[in-house]
Structures are given as C-alpha cells and as structure tokens.
C-alpha cells in the first residue's frame, strides 16, 4: 500500500470532524481547541496547562502522555468544573500532543443535561446513531406502556358498563314484573268471582295504575333506545315556555300524592312569551326533572325555575327541592345511564335509572349542555339547568367539533342555576 498522502483539512472540515479537538504543546499547555470545547469549556481558552482544566482518568500515569516512544495513548479526560467527559486518543505529532477526543454520554438525556447537541459530535461519529437508536427504543417502550394503560382503562370501562347493564336488566325486570303481577293478579280476581261494585272498581283502578306504571317504564326504555340509536329528531315549533312549565307543574302535583310537598314556579320576567323550541322534548325534560324531585322529596318544597339569558339566547331551567340530598361523589353518576346515586336509592325508590340520563340525552340533542352540582350543605339537592337554544334556525346540530357536556365538579357552592350557552 502506498503511503497515505498528507491531507490538508479546511478549518471547517476539521471543526466538523473533530469538534472536541484539544491541541497542546509538549508541556501539555493548551494551544488550540475545537468549537465544542470552546463553547462548553471556556476556561480552556486561557492558554493554561491541560491539568488546570481537566483531570486525567486514563491513563493512570499522566507521564504516559509525554514519555518517549508512546505515539498513541487512550485517554479519558474529565472537566474539573464538571459536566464534560471526553474519550479518545492522545497522539504525539512532532512537538505537539493532539487529543482526538469526543463526548460520550450514555443517553441523550445525559447529553442534553450536559448541554450537548449534534454539533458537539463528530460528523463521522456513529456513536450518536447508537444513542438515537436507544432513545427511539425507549420512546417506543413508553408509548407501548401508555397504550397498555389506555387499553386497560377502556377494558375496565367496558366491564363496568357491562355490569351496569346487567344490573339495569335485573332492575328493569323487577320494575316490569311488579306492575305486571298486579295487573294479572287483580284481573284474575275480577274474572273468578263477582265482586261488589266498589271492590271491583278498586281492583280495576289497581289494574290501570299497574298498566300506567308499565307503560311509563316501556316508554323510558324506548326513549333511551331512540337516543342511543340517534333516531330522536328535534322538531321546533312556537311554544309558550311559561305555560308549558305551568302544565308540567300541574302534572307533577298529581304525582305528589299525600306527601306534604309544595310545588312552586319561578318564571323570569325576561322570559319571552314565545320561543322556537321542541316543546315535546322540553316537556319531557321538565317532567323528568320534576318527577325525580317528587320521588326524592318527602316533605317541603319543589321549585321549578325557568329563565332566559340573552345573549346568548338560552332557555335555562332548574329544579330545586328539599329532598334527601345527594353526596358530591354520587353526582357524577346521576346522569349516567342505568345508574342512580346508589343501590340503596334504587331499592328505596325504584325506577329504571334512565330518567336523568334521558334528560341529558335530550338536552344534548337540542344543542344544550348539562351542568349539575350539589351545594355544600347537606339535605338539599339542586338540579342544574338544562339550557336550550330557542332559535332552532341558528343552532348547529351534531357534526364534527361538538363536544359533549363537561360534567360540573360536584360540590359547587350556591344553589343557583348555571346559565349555559347553547350551541349556535
């Protein structure tokens, strides 16, 4: 092989190939440094001895660098002020000692902490590729870990929903069976023997009551199914919201029975006399809220409040009651399907657990948002407003970009309904 011709490197090429170069004289006084050393070890620019800036970790005997006969020596230099570790070769060239050294972090994080960037590594240094490969593997492992966590949570949610659905089915079976049993029982009694008029009439009343209960349950299930399948259409028409509220309150009075509960209506003076809204759904929303309040209030007051916020042109309703109250933790479950506040509530009061979930679905279908919260004091429960945009022609329905409601934090203080802007 021919002798290697002498190579004259341009300064830029030298800097790119050896950014951490250190050149000393025979007495190990620093004469020149590469751009990486100049940036990271500024004290090396002072023309001082190498040992004033670095400690020698290898070779063990520093005299090996200047001993006659030693042309190339493996070196590890550590900056005395910290943060820089260099590895490479010290080569004796004529009267100079050239340290062809480079940075050697074990991870990119370590390199970043030392203030290193790509420019501090030789353009020909493949160790950077190895560091990058390790980092890519580490990043992939982190992604997979996150993915496993997400899938685990999704599985848990699915299992929880499955359990809730099973409980719901068991619950609905019971709710259906009870009135059905009453209907069949009293019908059989009527068919077997002739009974005095008042007795027979009372049996017929019980049959009718049972049938009505059954119909209400079936209607709830059908309503929910329609919402789930996204078949519920919004049909706006002109409506007097105050009169609608009065009608609903009258119906709710019929549900109170003999309980010492007073119903009140609070109508905002600014409420328009006519609004463009799906009155059927609005009626259903009001009746769901009122029925819920009647169910859980044994004495005291129930107030239906209906107002109008302009702008943005939202109908805002709220129902407050002096009922048994609800813990802040249970609020989050209130509007979920198949769920009541807790199992003891279902056992005490019955019900499918769909009412408030249907309410939420209807409000969302009408472009509103549902907020709920419980005031700090015990024994009082307030249901938050369901805003409905009154002008169907301006509202944006469905489509990309519409988010679901943001569940209000439980335990908000104050019993005031929250006006929420409807979707425009």
């Amino acid at each position: 092989m021919e002798n290697l011709p002498s190579l004259e490197l341009q300064p830029a090429d030298l800097a790119a190939l050896f950014p951490a170069l250190i050149v000393t004289d025979g007495a190990l006084v620093i004469r020149h440094v590469g751009p990486s050393i100049a940036r990271l070890v500024p004290e090396a620019l002072g023309g001082d001895s190498l040992w004033s800036v670095f400690t020698l970790e290898r070779p063990i005997d520093p005299d090996a660098l200047t001993a006659p006969g030693g042309a190339r020596t493996r070196v590890i230099l550590r900056r005395k002020a910290g943060g820089v570790l260099l590895r490479g070769l010290a080569v004796r060239i004529a009267l100079q000692i050239v340290f062809f050294v480079g940075h050697a972090p074990t991870t990119l994080l370590e390199g970043n902490s030392a203030g290193l960037s790509f420019d501090d590594f030789s353009a020909a240094d493949a160790s950077l590729d190895a560091l990058m490969a390790v980092e890519v593997q580490r990043a992939t492992a982190a992604e997979l870990k996150q993915l496993i966590e997400e899938l685990t949570q999704a599985r848990e949610r699915a299992e929880s929903a499955d359990r809730a659905k099973s409980e719901f089915l068991a619950n609905v079976s019971h709710e259906v069976r009870t009135p059905l049993t009453a209907i069949l029982g009293f019908a059989e009694l009527l068919s077997r023997r002739s009974l005095p008029g008042p007795t027979a009439a009372s049996y017929v009343d019980r049959i009718v009551d049972g049938a009505r209960s059954l119909l209400a349950i079936v209607n709830q299930i059908l309503d929910w199914s329609k919402l789930e399948a996204d078949h519920a259409e919004v049909e706006n028409r002109s409506c007097d919201p105050a009169q609608l509220a009065r009608d609903c309150l009258l119906l709710a009075r019929g549900q109170v029975g003999g309980k010492p509960v007073q119903l009140h209506l609070d109508v905002d003076a600014k409420l328009p006399r006519a609004l463009w809204v799906d009155d059927q759904k609005l009626r259903q929303i009001l009746m769901n809220l009122l029925s819920n309040a009647v169910k859980f209030t044994d004495f005291g007051d129930i107030t239906l409040k209906i107002g109008f916020h302009q702008p943005p042109g939202d109908l805002v309703v709220s129902v407050s009651d002096t009922g048994c109250g609800i813990s802040p933790e249970a609020v989050g479950r209130l509007f979920q399907r198949f769920s009541q506040a807790d199992g003891s509530s279902r056992r005490a009061h019955g019900g499918t657990g769909l009412g408030l979930a249907i309410t939420k679905g209807l409000v969302e279908k009408m472009g509103g948002a549902d907020h709920r919260g419980v005031p700090a004091w015990a024994g009082k429960r307030i249901q938050r407003p369901d805003p409905v945009s009154p002008d169907g022609s301006r509202r944006r329905r469905g489509g990309a970009g519409r988010r679901g409601p943001d569940p209000a934090a439980a335990g908000r203080s104050g019993g005031h309904p929250y006006p929420v802007g409807g979707r425009q």
Binding site: N112, S117, E150, A400
Partner: protein, 178 residues
C-alpha cells in the same frame, strides 16, 4: 410514514375537536387500528386517507390542514417521548435546522424502512435562513411550511416562512427572521 406522524395527528384532533371527531375520522379513513406506534412504518395510503379525512372533518383545504398539522407537530414532538431527540438536535433555530438532516439520517438507522426527507441549509445569517427540502413524497410542502413555523414558535423567533414549488433540485424554503 412512521407512526409518530399519525400519533401527532390523533392528538391534534383530540385536543382541538374531541375524541368523537377523532373516532369519526378513523371511520372515514377506514383505519382499523387507531393506536399508532411511533417507530412503526405505516403505508402511505393510510397517511393519505387520514389527511383527507382530517381536512374533511375540519372543513379545511388539504394544504391548510397539512400546514396546521406541521405547526402542531413541533409542539407534539417536544412534549412527547421524543423530546430528548428534539433537544439534542439543536438549542437554537439555526443549529436545529443545520442538524435536521443529520437527525433524519440518524433515525433512519432505527427505522430501516422509512423514507425520510432531507433538508440542506444553503445559507444562514441574521436576517434569513434558506433550505432545500427534498422528499420522495409529493405534496407535503405545506406540512414542511407548518414545521418551520412551528420551529419559529418553539424557539421564540419571530419570522415568516415561504416555500416555493418543487423543482428538480427540491423545494426551496425561505425563513425570513424578525
């Protein structure tokens, strides 16, 4: 394209429009598995369908959607598990741009099937930086423009990015500083 691109797109849509919109995009693009792995290479057809579905769902032209995505991508990369790489590439805008090509070359060692672009800085001074962008893929210039805009924002450097049409040498990028 490698999955990090798709992961960023997913996160952008979820951040800006919500999970329901992302679900509709996944449906529209015919994507079976929406859980992309950053270091896995996906067929370009998947990427194309995803970009089209995003443009349609957001009501933007494809070029505008690409540009917005490019800008978002920088923020995503700097907060993701790849942030150490992003930081090592450069601590200033000129340094980062100067090492962009080396970063892609280095990553290619870990992603052998990836067809990564090249970026060559042709000049840089206090008033402007000029690069040439070359890629085997066509039509991603708006995404590159967004990337550059994202870098300007990341390094808190006021400036404007223009990218010319592609020719035989590539597409010329001009970043006017200040």
């Amino acid at each position: 394209m490698y999955g990090m691109i798709h992961r960023a797109a997913r996160q952008m849509i979820i951040d800006e429009s919500g999970p329901a919109v992302w679900a509709s995009i996944v449906d529209a693009a015919g994507i079976v598995d929406e859980h992309f792995i950053g270091s896995t290479i996906y067929d370009d057809a998947v990427t194309l369908e995803l970009i089209n579905a995003i443009a349609h769902a957001t009501g933007l032209e494809t070029a505008e959607a690409l540009e917005r995505f490019g800008e978002y991508w920088i923020t995503f990369a700097n907060s993701s598990s790849y942030r150490n790489i992003m930081e090592m590439v450069g601590k200033t805008l000129p340094e980062f741009l100067g090492n962009l090509d080396r970063m892609h070359a280095s990553i290619q060692v870990s992603l052998p099937g990836a067809r990564l672009p090249t970026f060559e800085v042709t000049s840089a001074d206090a008033s402007e930086i000029r690069l040439i962008y070359r890629s085997q893929r066509v039509g991603l210039e708006p995404f590159v423009k967004g990337l550059m805009q994202g870098l300007l924002r990341h390094f808190r450097t006021p400036g404007r990015v223009d990218i010319g049409p592609r020719d035989a040498t590539g597409a010329r990028v001009l970043i006017r500083l200040g």
